[in-house]
């Protein structure tokens, strides 16, 4: 009897506990849903308003949300006077064609290699080299045909593009040869660990050739630009260069401070700490003057800004140093005993292990220039062709003609935000690793 009562009481208790738990979870869900709405609403509004035509429904933030008619007028305005789409289409066709042909080619070369199994290394290399060469000639011809006659006048341009493709092909050939080393295959129990390795390599190749085709396109047939496209192009250029240069600098500094021991190491760290306490804008006029002396203001704002973003970037070494600190020192020591110089240790041991922090650094360096208004506007100094998107759009919102430009600002903002957000979300994992690591280590 008492036993039964106990069981019943226990069940009662359990049930009430479960109910309690459910209530708590319900509250949490409510809070999270409300937060999500608050977090997303401004962006939804932004997108909605970007579809309100600046011609038909003039006005700043009017007192209604959903445009009376959805129109692409704002977006059309951004590209007005630019042949952006045909330009991009051309480049993409070239890229796809070139990548596809190269993929086939390398595959064929691989087969040839396998056939020539009994023969010497020289023959194999000759086979490979010969076929690649033939391929390149064909490719350049293809590019030229697709480009129309833009090439005809300029042999320099043609040579540059040729060189780019030869470089790419060479890299690909090396990758292929390495992967397919016969010695490696002859090891008993050798298995390819990653099933999708081949696919991944092809994807990488497509991306590589796409980028190359775009560069070639920029050199061979520059597009005509609208204001917005120019700003966008400026920002993209700055972001690309900055992300590469800054990453090299940051990694160099953090590697040196983390893993090498030399006189003055502590001093450098202390000096950087003290310099970091000065507000960044304090030095603005001096920087402007220095850039002006080099001719890198106004029309030269793009290289000028790259210089400014990169020059002092060595001071932001904390997070990647923290990462390097976690790699065991004995790896370096072991490699040094194995016969590596410190440079080889850096290149062959530490860099491959530092992939997360390399991606984090690139991501940060790439994203920062998109949001910079202060230096960008100061360096461009009213010269519209030197603006980045932030300055251009800021000026649209803060003109006297704000009413007229607001929806166009929305459209411009959407076009900036979409790719950046996509990139960020794709690499979110590395970002989280970086910030948490950085926060924990200070």
């Amino acid at each position: 009897m008492t036993n039964n009562a106990n069981v019943a009481a226990g069940q009662q208790k359990l049930r009430s506990k479960r109910g309690h738990e459910r209530r708590i979870n319900g509250t949490i869900y409510t809070v999270l849903v409300i937060m999500s709405i608050v977090w997303l609403v401004p962006f939804v509004f932004l997108v909605l308003q970007s579809f309100r035509s600046y011609k038909l429904e003039k006005g700043g933030m009017v007192d209604y949300l959903i445009p009376k008619t959805f129109s692409l007028d704002n977006y059309a305005f951004l590209f007005e006077g630019s042949n952006f789409f045909s330009w991009l289409g051309q480049a993409l066709i070239v890229a796809v064609a070139v990548a596809a042909v190269t993929a086939v080619l390398i595959h064929v070369c691989g087969r040839l290699l396998d056939k020539g199994e009994g023969e010497g290394r020289g023959t194999r290399v000759a086979l490979l080299g010969g076929s690649l060469l033939i391929g390149f000639v064909a490719l350049v011809g293809l590019t030229m045909a697709l480009q129309g006659f833009a090439l005809a006048g300029s042999w320099v341009k043609a040579l540059i593009s040729l060189a780019l493709f030869v470089l790419a092909g060479w890299i690909m050939a090396r990758v292929y040869l390495k992967q397919d080393s016969k010695l490696l295959r002859s090891i008993p129990g050798y298995v390819v660990e990653d099933k999708h390795e081949g696919l991944k390599k092809f994807c990488a190749m497509f991306a590589e050739f796409g980028a190359l085709a775009l560069i070639a396109q920029c050199i061979l047939a520059p597009m005509t630009m609208s204001q917005y496209v120019r700003w966008y192009g400026n920002t993209l250029t700055i972001a690309l260069f900055t992300s590469v240069i800054q990453t090299v600098i940051v990694l160099s500094v953090s590697y040196a401070l983390s893993r090498l021991r030399f006189k003055g190491r502590k001093l450098i760290m202390n000096v950087v700490l003290i310099l970091g306490l000065f507000p960044g804008f304090l030095t603005m006029i001096t920087l402007y003057f220095l850039l002006k002396q080099m001719g890198l203001t106004q029309a030269g704002a793009v290289p000028g800004l790259i210089l400014i973003y990169c020059a002092s970037s060595g001071m932001g070494y904390y997070i990647s140093k923290g990462f390097f600190d976690t790699i065991p020192k004995s790896l370096d020591e072991s490699a040094r005993i194995d016969g590596a110089t410190r440079f080889q240790v850096f290149l062959k041991i530490i860099m491959p292990l530092a992939k997360p922090i390399v991606i984090y650094t690139i991501l940060m360096a790439f994203m920062a220039p998109w949001g910079d208004y202060v230096f960008a506007s100061y360096v461009a100094f009213g010269h519209q062709d030197g603006y980045n998107v932030a300055v251009g759009l800021y000026n649209w919102v803060n003109t006297n003609d704000f009413q007229n430009y607001f929806t166009r600002f929305c459209a411009g903002g959407v076009l900036v935000a979409v790719p950046i957000t996509a990139l960020f979300l794709a690499l979110q994992k590395y970002y989280v690793e970086g910030v948490t690591g950085g926060a924990v280590k200070g």
Binding site: L183, L184, S186, I187, P188, G189, Y190, V191, E193, P328, S330, L331, E333, S334, A335, R336, I337, D338, G339, A340, T341, Q344, K348, I349, P352, L353
Partner: protein, 374 residues
């Protein structure tokens, strides 16, 4: 294959912390030397100086006939196995082992031959295509060793290579290192804090403490004639028992008096003591636990104690016994030496008597802690 010479080698950190004082040692070609000592004794530092990973603050280090004080580690022709293995995580076992050879621009066929041969010796051929993270501790250990032997180095350095393994694997690897040493006949320097490893592996053992060499000798030498209290306590397990005693000289003969018992030191020891000119003085008398015997027949010359702990180790008993003045000693008694009845009597608090032959005793000066028989 080369001999090594360390002359007055010294390591000073940050101008005041001395890690190694005046280290002098000559290592013969193809010798297996073990540095042993408690942590912080400077053994690893010495090894790292030999490897070139630490600067040498003073003295000279010679490998073969070349002074290598200022030579980069990569040019010293040495190989090293690290405590945490230090395998390169991003490349396969094969490439890990080939890494040093590729850096030396050796041709592919030769690299392949050497890697496969080393893998064969160590029995890791089937793991060659794996990444280190997919290996067990013992396998990683083998790869680390393999990476060192493909080099065919002049000197083979090992820094506590077995301390990250569990006890069973450690014993197994220890045996394998002995075998390995037979196969690749080169100079080995091995650092450990474990005296068992030192005793079983080394041709000679270098015992260190606080940056000073305490004693250098073959395993047998350091076990039988420890030079000082530290070495006596460090080598052997369980640790040697130290008893306060009074040394008395009577004519040409010496006696030790302790706990009311008088033990003759015998002719050989007396001669040594006399040669050193030792008179009557306080001494510390050392007896290894395995050299003690339980005495049940109440004969003379035995010491009485109270049993505190009785550890049954299977083939033997470890008896922790408190003496009259509170000194604790350990007796190591083979189980088979006792009758069932005698064994049953060994319970907490029971009184027992033990003795030891004079031949196995050690005498130390309580002040200098040096052996009086050396």
């Amino acid at each position: 294959m080369a001999s090594l010479k360390l002359e007055h080698v010294k390591k000073v950190y940050d101008k005041n912390v001395v890690a190694v004082h005046d280290f002098n040692l000559e290592i013969k070609d193809k010798e297996f030397i073990v540095f042993v000592g408690p942590s912080g004794c400077g053994k690893s530092t010495t090894l790292r100086m030999i490897a070139g990973l630490e600067d040498i603050s003073g003295g000279t280090l010679t490998i073969g006939d070349r002074v290598v004080n200022d030579v980069e580690p990569k040019d010293r022709d040495i190989a090293m196995v690290f405590q945490n293995y230090a395998l390169y995580p991003h490349i396969t076992v094969y490439e890990n082992m080939a890494f040093s050879l590729r850096l030396r621009k050796m041709n592919n066929e030769e690299v392949h031959r050497r890697v496969c041969q080393a893998a064969e010796i160590l029995g890791i051929t089937e793991y060659l295509a794996r990444k280190p993270k997919n290996l067990s501790g013992g396998q990683r250990q083998r790869v680390a060793i393999g990476r060192a032997i493909v080099r065919e180095p002049q000197v083979f350095l090992m820094d506590e290579p077995l301390s990250n393994l569990d006890a069973k694997l450690r014993n197994q690897m220890r045996a394998e290192i002995i075998l390995l040493r037979k196969r690749i006949d080169t100079t080995f320097i091995y650092v450990t804090h474990d005296q068992t490893e030192a005793m079983t592996l080394g041709d000679r053992i270098v015992i260190m403490k606080d940056g000073y060499i305490q004693q250098v000798g073959t395993p047998q030498e350091v076990f039988e004639t420890p030079r000082n209290l530290f070495v006596a306590g460090f080598i052997g397990s369980p640790q040697m028992n130290f008893l306060k005693a009074r040394l008395v000289k009577n004519g040409g003969e010496y006696f030790a008096e302790l706990y009311g018992v008088r033990i003759a030191m015998g002719a050989e020891k007396s001669a040594k003591l006399a040669a050193k000119g030792v008179g009557g003085q306080d001494v510390i008398l050392g007896v290894r636990p395995e050299h003690t015997q339980l005495v049940f027949d109440g004969r003379d010359g035995t010491i009485e104690g109270t049993l505190r702990v009785n550890e049954m180790m299977g083939s033997e008993l470890h008896l922790h016994v408190d003496l009259a003045d509170g000194t604790s000693v350990i007796l190591r008694i083979p189980t088979l030496d006792l009758t069932e009845e005698q064994r049953r009597g060994l319970i907490y608090g029971s009184k027992l008597r033990f003795a030891f032959p004079e031949k196995v005793t050690h005498l130390f000066d309580p002040k200098s802690e040096e052996s009086l028989l050396f």
